[in-house]
């Protein structure tokens, strides 16, 4: 009876048809690497097309980008400076995402970490003649604690009241930025400018250029010891996730909440602790940026590091080692992008890479067949 109401759907008739089927076998280890590489090549081709449309020469542009970020020791050092906060926030997101907690508040936690570190100098918690090691240690701890508090609040709300952490962490970003703004406008303003006074030298993270007297090759290199901290943090996060009992709980919770509950693992407790550690890592990024690069508290300390961290974590497939590599690549893109155009094309290329990499994941999960259409 209903045949009349159903019109046959007209479809394009190709001699071949594409069929997609879910993969039922594990892919070999080299396969994901190959796919990611292929995705980047495709992205660069797409980026090249954009450059051509904009009237540029894609080859010259790409060579310029490579030179501007990896071409010399000096620029590579600058790339690493950009990569350092990305590693921290990338780890922060990777850790939370591993448990499928969507902490998109790394930006706010970054600002709170920076604020906490500044507090040590500006309140002041320590007098300005404190030895450097103690200064930095206390700044580290206070920065981490402030970040952790910013992670604890949404974590607690999620664990006890099932409040969606995506909303709370996102909204708390704005609170954190405004909080910092309040201090640089009103409390710690220096001569009416929207920034605090410069920190004393012993509150600075040591830079490579500090070693230039004994090793001239380091002259003018801005890479600071925050990078070292970031690498250590990556090691620690890796160890926690893949070697510790807590990490096992996190991975089990992330893959299957019901199975974790069945194994006797507390969802609420882990939600709170993971959000706190995630916040602390993002707070470390803020501390390292304040103490290693900016040396004062001001408004423009982050060009959205916290949000880039989400992308970094995702592209690194939540693997701490891969977070380092992806962060350096993103550091390079941020740095070199500014070389060719302040905004616009470089962001488009970044976007192309991102979309291609994420889309390429499809090929890991599905097999694509092309078959001949049966003659009807």
């Amino acid at each position: 009876m209903t045949e009349s109401s159903l019109k046959p759907i007209r479809r394009l008739q190709l001699p071949f048809q594409i069929h997609v089927e879910q993969r039922l076998e594990d892919v070999p280890r080299w396969f994901p690497v190959l796919i990611s590489f292929g995705a980047i090549v495709v992205a660069l081709i797409l980026g090249g097309i954009i450059i051509v449309i904009a009237g540029g020469d894609p080859f010259a542009t790409y060579i310029h980008i490579a030179r501007a970020s990896f071409g010399s020791l000096g620029v590579f050092s600058d790339t690493l400076v950009k990569a350092t906060p990305l590693i921290f926030v990338g780890l922060a997101c990777a850790l939370a995402f591993k448990m499928r907690l969507w902490n998109i508040g790394a930006e706010g936690q970054f600002f709170m970490g920076a604020w906490g570190a500044s507090l040590v100098v500006l309140l002041p918690i320590l007098p300005s003649e404190t030895p450097q090691w103690l200064f930095i240690l206390v700044m580290l701890v206070v920065g981490m604690v402030c970040g952790a508090i910013w992670g604890f609040i949404p974590g607690f709300l999620k664990a006890k009241l099932q409040v969606n952490e995506i909303i709370t962490t996102l909204m708390m970003n704005y609170i954190a930025v405004s909080w910092v703004n309040y201090f640089i406008f009103a409390v710690w303003t220096e001569g009416g400018f929207q920034m605090s006074r410069m920190f004393p030298k012993n509150a600075w993270l040591p830079r490579l250029s500090d070693l230039a007297e004994s090793m001239p090759i380091f002259r003018g290199l801005t890479t600071h010891s925050g990078l070292l901290l970031a690498l250590v943090a990556a090691g620690v996060v890796w160890f926690i996730l893949f070697r510790s009992q807590w990490g096992y709980e996190i991975r089990l919770l992330g893959d299957n909440r019901d199975a974790a509950r069945y194994a006797g693992i507390s969802v609420a407790r882990n939600t709170i602790f993971v959000m706190m550690l995630s916040g602390a890592l993002a707070g470390l990024a803020g501390m390292s940026e304040i103490s290693g690069v900016v040396h004062r508290l001001q408004g423009a300390i982050s060009p959205g590091y916290g949000f880039t961290g989400i992308i970094v974590a995702w592209l690194a497939k939540l693997n701490p080692a891969a977070v380092i590599v992806v962060s350096i690549l993103f550091g390079a893109l941020i740095l070199a992008g500014r070389e060719i155009q302040p905004s616009g094309i470089p962001k488009m290329i970044q976007g192309c890479i991102l979309v291609c990499l994420i889309a390429s994941d499809f090929l890991l999960r599905y097999r694509v067949y092309i078959t001949r259409r049966i003659q009807e």
């Binding site: 159903l6 039922l24 096992y248 991975r251 299957n256 019901d258 509950r261 069945y262 006797g264």
Partner: protein, 518 residues
Amino acid sequence: MELVNEQTQKKVVVSMRGIVKKFPGVLANDAVDFELIEGEVHALLGENGAGKSTLMNILAGLYRPEAGTISIRGKAVSFNSPKDAIQAGIGMVHQHFMLVPSQSVTENILLGLDEPRFRLRLREYEQKVVELGERFGLHVDPRAKVWQLSVGEQQRVEILKMLYRGAQVLIMDEPTAVLAPTEIEDLFKTLHSMAAEDQSIIFISHKLQEVLEISDRVTVLRRGKVTASGIPLINTTRAELARLMVDREVLFRLEKKAVEAGDKVLEVQDIRAENDRGLPALREMSLNVRAGEIVGLAGVAGNGQRELAEVITGLRKITGGKILVHGEDLTNKPVKTGIRRGISHIPEDRTHVGTAGNLSITDNTIMKNYNQPPIGQRWVVNAVLANKYAEDLQKAYDIVVPSIKTPVRLLSGGNLQRVILAREISSQPSLLVAVQPTRGLDVGAIEGVQRLLLAQREAGAAILLISEELEELLSLSDRIYVIYEGKIMGEVLDGDIEKIGMMMTGTPMKDIEARGSK
């Protein structure tokens, strides 16, 4: 050119020839032939894992066969999606309904169709749904929201959905598994009235009784191969069908040693609990299990079995009563406490509760002892020992995988169940709660699981076996409780099937005895 069946002189609707479908490690369909004629109810019979659902998923456009041809009314077809299949007039009603709970019946039926295009003239379409329902005896309120409907009504909506799309072939995948006895009767009436209107129905089942009751012809599958192709049921016996389904003449007899039952390990006293919807699931029920005995819990699915297992293992809070394990009060204690006291749990849902699909075999086998020495040391997991532990279990329990690093989502049902059993039994539990431990497994695997359970019984474990397979309960259990609507109807010691059957439909033991003495 339409084909005609030689025996019945009726039109052939569906003809599948030489269908082959492989899954990793399994040949799910091995050159299967299948033929469906107009206006018949054709049963597809076979044990779990025999390849029935695979064959029908191919016909419904969900899978692509590796080899073989399908023709509908004499015309060769190649389906790329369920949409292609439904256009050819083939609709499948799956075991798990695909309905949107918050939408009305009519909205669900119209979902995904090209018409109505822009304006949802719901009233008009509601009328159509009612008319269609009346024609086939499928009564359901078109304005009711799906979540308000009983399971049987939801199934009717699924059938209406397919009929509305113009299905002339209806595939029903184990439709009675979720239904109460009265609902099964209604379903059978509907199927008969549909067949009378020249609709063809494929009825997938592993239950002999139902197949004999409802179908005209039967095709039997065994381990991916056809053992009987479209034989009329009129001159077939139950025993014959059973032999075609199971490749052994006599059902194996499990060697059940005499074990003296020991102390009470589990005591459940007057417990009450609610289900996920907040409705009462357990109503003041009590039972006990002693060391060295297997106690069966029989009942139609959804009468509180799942909730009971969850309550005992600490996954669900109870609202009244007491749970004692070894005399210790474990009422509403966390899951971890239960695990420490030696409670093991083989959950009903292997993929969603029992295992974490993307984690490796190793990670899945250490789920219960990752924080116990020697694998858990202080706050670290000893990866070397964990891998060794997993390898030992893999060998001891015959888990077939390329490596212990393989994510378990790639394992077949039988292997997955062995991973769970390996984990739950190797801890030498004092109490084992096993829910449907053999569901969906092939004969060999079933026997393996049952032997493991008996071995645990001999080792002195108290086992609560929750199952819907009466035969399994009868062959394994020392005692059988029957559950109905969250209450224990009675206890059977002698395996009296008749009594169990009556209690399963809601007659308490005391009523049966009262009737018997009259």
